[in-house]
C-alpha cells in the first residue's frame, strides 16, 4: 500500500469503501483520518457514492421479440382488423389473444371502431347530370343556315369585288318556289344558270366548258325538310341512333364554319376557273351531312322576278335583292 498523505488520500478512501484494503491498510487509513480531523467528513461522504445493485435490473426481453406481444399488441390488433398482417402474424396474434383472455375484449373493441357505411342519397343528383337529349333540327339548322348565308354573302362579295363586280349576275339566279313542293320533296335548291349575255360573249372567245365554268356562281342547296321525321325514326332504331348533342354541335359547327370560310376564301381568291367550281358549297354540304347524317346537295338558283337571290334551309329562308 502506498503511503497515505494529504495528496493521495482520495484514492485510498475509495479503496477503503470498496473493500479493497486489508485490515492493516484499513487501520492505517483510520489512523490517518484521526490525525487529519478536517478530512473525516469527506472520508464518510465516500460511502454515498457506492451504488447498490438494483433489485430488478432485468430487461423486458419480450419487447425485443418480433411478432405480437404485450407492448405492441394494439398495433397487431389494428393490423388484424385492417387486414395488414401476414398469415404468420395473424396466427401469432391469435395465439397471443388465446393466452390472455383480456385481449379478446380489447380486440372486440377495436373491431367496433370500423364504421358501417350508412346509406345517404345525394338529393340533387339529377342536377349534376349533363343532358343527352336529342337536339331538335331547329338547333342545328340555325347555325348551319347561318353558315350557308355567310358563305353566300361572302362569295357574292368576293366574286363581285375580285372577279365579277357587276351585280347583273344576280339577275341570272333562279328562285325555286318551295311553296309548291310537297313536304317530302321540299328542299332548298339554288342553281346558277349561265348568263346568256356573257355566254354569248364567251362563246365567241372560248369553249363551252370554259364559259359554263366561268359563269357558274353557286350551286343549289338541297336539304330535305323531312330530316326531323327521319331522325326520329333513326333514334328509335338502336342500330343507327344518332347523337345530336350540344357537345356535337359545339364541336362540329365552328369547325364546319371555319373550313367553309377557309375554302371559300381560297376558292374565291383563286383563278377564275377555280372560282367557277362549287367546292365551298360542296364542303358546306359535307359539313351539314356530318351534323345531320343526311345526304345533302347544294345548288344555287334565282328568284322568279329575277330580282332576288336566296336559299332555304329547312324552314329558314334567306334572300337578297339585286344590287344590295
Amino acid at each position: 500500500m502506498k503511503r497515505i498523505t494529504r495528496y493521495n488520500y482520495e484514492e485510498l478512501f475509495l479503496d477503503y469503501h470498496e473493500g479493497k484494503l486489508t485490515n492493516e491498510e484499513k487501520s492505517i487509513v483510520l489512523l490517518f483520518i484521526e490525525t487529519n480531523a478536517d478530512l473525516q467528513e469527506e472520508f464518510y461522504s465516500f460511502t454515498n457514492v457506492c451504488l447498490e445493485p438494483m433489485e430488478d435490473s432485468r430487461m423486458e426481453k419480450s419487447d425485443l421479440y418480433n411478432g405480437p406481444h404485450h407492448s405492441n399488441r394494439e398495433d397487431y390488433f389494428i393490423g388484424l382488423i385492417e387486414g395488414d398482417l401476414t398469415d404468420s402474424e395473424v396466427s401469432q396474434t391469435h395465439d397471443l389473444i388465446r393466452d390472455n383472455e383480456a385481449y379478446q375484449l380489447e380486440l372486440s373493441v377495436f373491431e367496433k371502431t370500423k364504421l358501417m357505411p350508412q346509406a345517404l342519397i345525394f338529393p340533387e343528383k339529377k342536377q349534376l347530370k349533363k343532358s343527352t337529349k336529342v337536339i331538335p333540327l331547329l338547333k342545328f339548322a340555325v347555325p348551319a343556315a347561318a353558315a350557308v348565308a355567310l358563305l353566300v354573302i361572302l362569295s357574292e362579295k368576293r366574286l363581285n369585288q375580285d372577279y365579277r363586280p357587276s351585280h347583273d349576275r344576280l339577275t341570272h339566279l333562279n328562285w325555286m318556289d318551295s311553296e309548291n313542293t310537297t313536304p317530302e320533296q321540299e328542299f332548298v335548291q339554288f342553281r346558277i344558270e349561265p348568263n346568256k349575255k356573257e355566254q354569248n360573249q364567251k362563246n365567241t372567245s372560248g369553249s363551252a366548258q370554259e364559259v359554263l365554268q366561268s359563269s357558274l356562281k353557286a350551286i343549289s342547296v338541297n336539304v330535305p325538310s323531312a330530316i326531323p321525321v327521319e331522325l326520329e325514326k333513326r333514334i328509335q332504331s338502336p342500330r343507327a341512333k344518332p347523337e345530336f348533342t350540344e357537345e356535337v354541335l359545339v364541336a362540329e359547327i365552328p369547325t364546319v364554319m371555319e373550313k367553309v370560310t377557309q375554302l371559300a376564301d381560297e376558292t374565291i381568291l383563286g383563278t377564275p376557273k377555280e372560282m367557277a367550281t362549287n367546292e365551298p358549297l360542296e364542303l358546306l354540304a359535307k359539313g351539314i351531312e356530318k351534323v345531320t347524317h343526311k345526304q345533302t346537295e347544294i345548288t344555287r338558283s334565282k328568284s322568279t322576278d329575277r330580282r332576288k337571290v336566296g336559299f332555304k334551309f329547312g324552314k329558314f329562308e334567306f334572300s337578297r335583292s339585286k344590287g344590295i
Binding site: 394494439e74 398495433d75 373493441v109 367496433k112 371502431t113 364504421l115 342519397i121 343528383k125
Partner: protein
C-alpha cells in the same frame, strides 16, 4: 370521359361523395355545395379524365374542396373570435354508431378523412394517399392512431353506458 360516362359517375359516386363530405363537415348545405362544385370541376375537365379514374378524381377533388372550405371557415372563425369550437355538447349516445360518430368528430381532420375513406369507400392506403396527398405510410399511421383513439373512446363510453 364521355358525357355518358360522366353521367354514370354521377349515378355511381354522387351519393358516396356526399356521404364522405357530410360525415366530415356535418353540414348538409355545405356538403351539397361541395358535391356540386366537385362535379362541376370534373365536368370542366372531363375530356382529360379517364373514366376508370373518375371515382378517385372525384374524391380527391371533393377532398381538396372540403379542406379549402374548412380552412377558410377556420380563418373566419379566428377572425371573429368565435367560441363555437369550444362548445361542449351534451348529446346522449343511444347506440354504438352514435358513439363512434361522436368519437369521429373528435379526430383531427386528416385522421377523420382517411378513416372515412377506408371504412366507407374501402380504399387501400395507396388510394387514400392519392386522394388526400399523403404518403402511404402517413395514411397508415393516421388510421392506426385513429383506431387507437376510437377504441379508447368507445371503451370509455361503454363503461359509462
Amino acid at each position: 370521359m364521355t358525357r355518358a360516362e360522366y353521367n354514370t359517375a354521377v349515378d355511381l359516386y354522387a351519393d358516396n361523395l356526399y356521404r364522405f363530405i357530410l360525415k366530415n363537415i356535418q353540414d348538409v348545405d355545405k356538403s351539397k355545395d361541395i358535391v356540386q362544385d366537385t362535379f362541376l370541376k370534373v365536368w370542366n375537365r372531363h375530356g382529360e379524365i379517364a373514366s376508370e379514374k373518375a371515382k378517385s378524381y372525384l374524391f380527391s377533388t371533393g377532398y381538396r374542396t372540403m379542406i379549402d372550405l374548412i380552412r377558410k371557415e377556420k380563418k373566419q372563425a379566428r377572425m371573429e373570435e368565435s367560441d363555437l369550437l369550444g362548445h361542449v355538447t351534451t348529446d346522449q349516445y343511444s347506440d354504438l354508431q352514435s358513439v363512434l360518430l361522436a368519437a369521429l368528430d373528435q379526430l383531427p381532420e386528416a385522421q377523420k378523412a382517411v378513416v372515412l375513406l377506408r371504412d366507407y369507400e374501402g380504399y387501400n392506403y395507396s388510394e387514400i394517399g392519392e386522394i388526400t396527398g399523403l404518403t402511404e405510410s402517413q395514411v397508415k399511421v393516421y388510421i392506426y392512431r385513429a383506431r387507437k383513439f376510437l377504441q379508447k373512446y368507445i371503451g370509455n363510453m361503454e363503461v359509462l353506458i
